[in-house]
Symmetry: C2
Subunit: 416 residues, 2 copies
């Protein structure tokens, strides 16, 4: 179970400091033993925050808490526990969430409403409030300025069934009238399946030292999430706790970005998108039982959203995913998945490619199609499927993994 | 692969004759050897027909053909080949469909537009027109009045990856001013996964000797399909060829049913629904790799449609299906599936039952919940999950099977 995914990166990346961000981890023994299960990140006064939360209608208690306080766009800290999702835990869950925020707030001398919360792990079990409170007190004494070792420890503390820790960074430099600025973006994430067994949750924590007004930060985060985390799928399931945060400390700039028309906005957005794409791809690479990383690109759709719907229909089809697991160029299943997506597609001008091999065109198998070449491409551990649906210019790429015995093995196993 | 599903009925049922229906089967060698792969059913002049076809936007050539001619509500014959779906076969596929209809029409002395078509099997390969034509000529000489052996032979001829032949019947009797009538309904079906590997298609052929006007027949069929075939799921995939027909020969009645207010309508509809439910459950019981037959009932939803959406979200969740395969009472996954369905649900008044065991209520694990009792229920090969979402009175039941290594084994195998 704890074997590292064959699609994992060779090692955890060297991540730079983000000015103003302090990190801590602690072993509280909430569910796991012999590993850290609490993570705290603290940002300086004046920092801004944006968040994107699960669309589940049965959200966890921490998600309820975060939604109720994030409107201010201001936050000083985020704390995450692993091993217990504090989801579907009723009134007790709400109390645990509030206690967690208050405990950390008291330690830092900020208000509870300035503390964001994340929990990931089993659903339906209440948190052990005593062990948690004790752990939180110890946690807040461990704070140290962010650095490569700190990021790696934080990325490890938030893991549940993840087989490797996930981190990414990007930088962008501007020359300007006040002499030049460099913005750094660092993110860590967890996730292994949209919802891992009952180890629920995909979580992303992204930090930058840019100065960004809250509404602009929210726009920036939402736009990048829609093109990264919302374009990946392992098993089509959505957790009660999925959340992504972007914190901006402002330490690298005296002039905040207060509009999307600021010349620095696009560059910063590219960095955040790059980090979010990298992290979301790492989540797919840690997909339960995954042996192949799959790019699905749809072009020629009515709109970009329609293209994404069709691409997700392909990427979520168990029949497509099992075929790819077997390196089987079974393109009839791709036609099926396009047909069931419910978005406009012209059957008789459909073009399908496996890698660079043209498989089908004009409603029929392509004249020069070689199943041998298609199969050869599919034997790689990174493969691509491209479909042009022949309607207009909408396009989208989504990323997924194959569906193997490993997935069944992991998910049909007992929890204990 | 050809091992009979552990959930199969003990034997094929004894099916009665339907007055006016003649059947034939023939071994044409389209793809399979040593088995019949053509089925023909002929009904008398004056018979009516209704059809419901796949919502796929990439439908097969026979589906295109049927849609273009079924508007008349009149049909004299339906012919089905197994082994090749004639889907995504371009202009050649359209030609094969027309040739098939014309060949049968010429033999029977009817018009091609009075012939309905079904094909099931591989996608993307053209039909061998010469062998098909030869087979069709032989087929039409084999016609005999429907009887138990004939229905079984027909149900076998339409199989692809099905591990058992599927048939069902029902009867309803009326005493009335003209002395009394008895209507018989018989159906056969094929399907094993919403789309079996590249052996695409769920098909249903239902016949009655009642006399029913075309528009009433279509209403009756549509209403029963929405509560039977549209409430089952094996793997959430939809084929290019899914079709269900209802033929009414009128041989058992001199007074046709011309309105849904006819006192005989509801009784006949119950019969057709019963046959369609029985056949659709048999399809689930033949689900690829299935070891459990699962009832998912949702109550308390905003509408019946909302209840069906939530029930399908549970029934299609790979995480729920793998848990059930392992008899694991992992109810957090049910909460997750309710939450992602996108329909109104009140997290804090959700009630979940596994069999009769109350698992969760009021947004929390139920006080008297026994995981042992829930697990014991899940060890049966027929299990039930019930969820009340606490909003209004909408309700629906859907049926599915578990997700096992068998599904991966079957679908990750090479086609040849």
């Amino acid at each position: 179970m704890s074997t590292i995914s064959p699609l994992a990166p060779a090692s955890f990346p060297e991540l730079p400091a983000v000015a103003g961000v302090q990190l801590a981890t602690h072993e509280a023994g909430i569910r796991y033993t012999n590993r850290a299960d609490l993570m705290l990140a603290v940002v300086p006064e004046g920092s801004t925050v944006a968040g994107v939360f699960t669309q589940s209608l049965c959200p966890s208690a921490p998600v309820d808490w975060c939604r109720s306080v994030i409107g201010s766009g201001r936050s000083r800290a985020i704390v995450c526990n692993s091993g217990n999702a504090n989801a579907f835990t009723g009134a007790a869950g709400q109390t645990s969430a509030r206690l967690t925020a208050e405990t950390i707030a008291n330690q830092l001398g900020v208000s509870a409403e300035e503390v964001q919360l994340a929990s990931t792990g089993v659903i339906g079990e209440t948190l052990p409030d005593d062990r948690l409170a004790e752990g939180l007190l110890a946690l807040s004494t461990q704070l140290a300025p962010s650095n490569s070792a700190g990021w790696q420890a934080a990325a490890n503390a938030i893991r549940t069934t993840d087989t490797f820790a996930k981190g990414a960074s990007a930088e962008v430099a501007y020359a300007n009238e006040i002499g030049g600025e460099t913005f750094t973006v660092v993110g860590i994430a967890k996730g292994s399946g949209m919802i891992a067994p009952d180890m629920a949750t995909m979580l992303g924590f992204v930090f930058t030292d840019a100065a960004v007004a809250p509404d602009v930060l929210q726009t920036l985060l939402s736009e990048t999430v829609s093109k990264s985390y919302n374009r990946i799928t392992v098993d089509s399931d959505t957790s009660t706790s999925d959340s992504v945060w972007l914190f901006a400390t402002g330490e690298a700039s005296d002039a905040p970005i207060t509009s999307v028309d600021d010349p620095r906005y696009e560059g910063l957005k590219e960095c955040v998108l790059g980090v979010n794409l990298d992290l979301s791809h790492q989540i797919v690479r840690d997909g339960e039982g995954a042996t192949k990383f799959i790019h699905v690109t749809v072009t020629g759709a009515e709109t970009d959203d329609a293209a994404a719907t069709i691409a997700l229909s392909i990427a979520n089809s168990p029949l497509v995913k099992t075929a790819l697991a077997a390196s089987d160029a079974n393109w009839g299943r791709i036609v099926m998945a396009v047909g069931k997506a419910g978005e406009k597609a012209d059957r008789d001008s459909l073009e399908i490619r496996i890698g660079s091999e043209l498989v089908a065109e004009k409603g029929w198998q392509a004249a020069g199609y070689s199943e041998e070449r298609a199969t050869e491409h599919l034997q790689n551990d990174e493969v691509s499927i491209s479909v042009d649906v022949g309607i207009a210019d909408g396009e989208a790429t989504v990323w997924t993994c194959d569906l193997t015995h490993g997935y069944i093995e992991i998910n049909a196993g007992y929890r204990s």
